[in-house]
């Protein structure tokens, strides 16, 4: 069966420091991968998605970047964190079907709670 691992679970960082959050998926090949942010009291905001290595799309202009160095590894980074980067970050995957993927649900990791001081 497929599993998704996300770490760390919690992180406290000072303003201006760098960030690296990691996500890996096991048990499937060539998945679609996603990064979301969930701010307190708000819904989920899609930040990045990737349908393959070196194929990453950004949904919103921001202080963050994403990379996919391996098929099942997705990394969220920042060079200098802002206070507004605080939130709950969720990684997700879905089956990377060859054609339409609309029937495929996304499966989420347990998230990283990021607090910026």
């Amino acid at each position: 069966s497929q599993t998704i691992h996300q770490w760390p679970a919690t992180l406290v960082q000072p303003v201006g420091s760098p960030l690296s959050l990691e996500c890996t998926v096991e048990g499937t090949s060539n998945p679609n991968l996603y990064w979301y942010r969930q701010a307190a009291g708000r819904g989920l905001q899609l930040l990045f998605y990737s349908i393959g290595i070196d194929q990453i799309s950004s949904e919103v202009p921001q202080n963050l970047s994403a990379s996919r160095p391996q098929d099942r590894q997705f990394i969220l980074s920042s060079k200098k964190l802002l206070l507004s980067d605080s939130g709950f970050y969720l990684c997700a995957w879905s089956l990377g079907t060859g054609g339409f993927g609309r029937n495929q649900p996304q499966h989420f990791g347990d998230g990283t709670r990021l607090s910026i001081l």
């Binding site: 679609n32 060859g98 339409f100 609309r102 495929q104 996304q106 989420f108 998230g111």
Partner: protein
Amino acid sequence: AQSVTQLDSHVSVSEGTPVLLRCNYSSSYSPSLFWYVQHPNKGLQLLLKYTSAATLVKGINGFEAEFKKSETSFHLTKPSAHMSDAAEYFCVVSDRAPRAAGNKLTFGGGTRVLVKP
């Protein structure tokens, strides 16, 4: 374009009584619809999905949802609430889209469920 409206931001029920969470959607194409549950500081867990098969969909933990195209609704129900059902619930729509679009989802604003003993 697609959108999802969860009609109640909060629902309070007594343990053992029915739960109804309301969701309306709009979609340019025949949608796929999902319900997810999120417990505090956890990721989202898939409860059930509708993908143009049977309109009454059964999910995990006793939940079910009915797709009504004429009403553009996908309400979630459970006959008898349990204390462990206290969580936030998200109704989600996925439009028909090519794989290049990464099977993006549109999330409702969430409904927080409180279960009273």
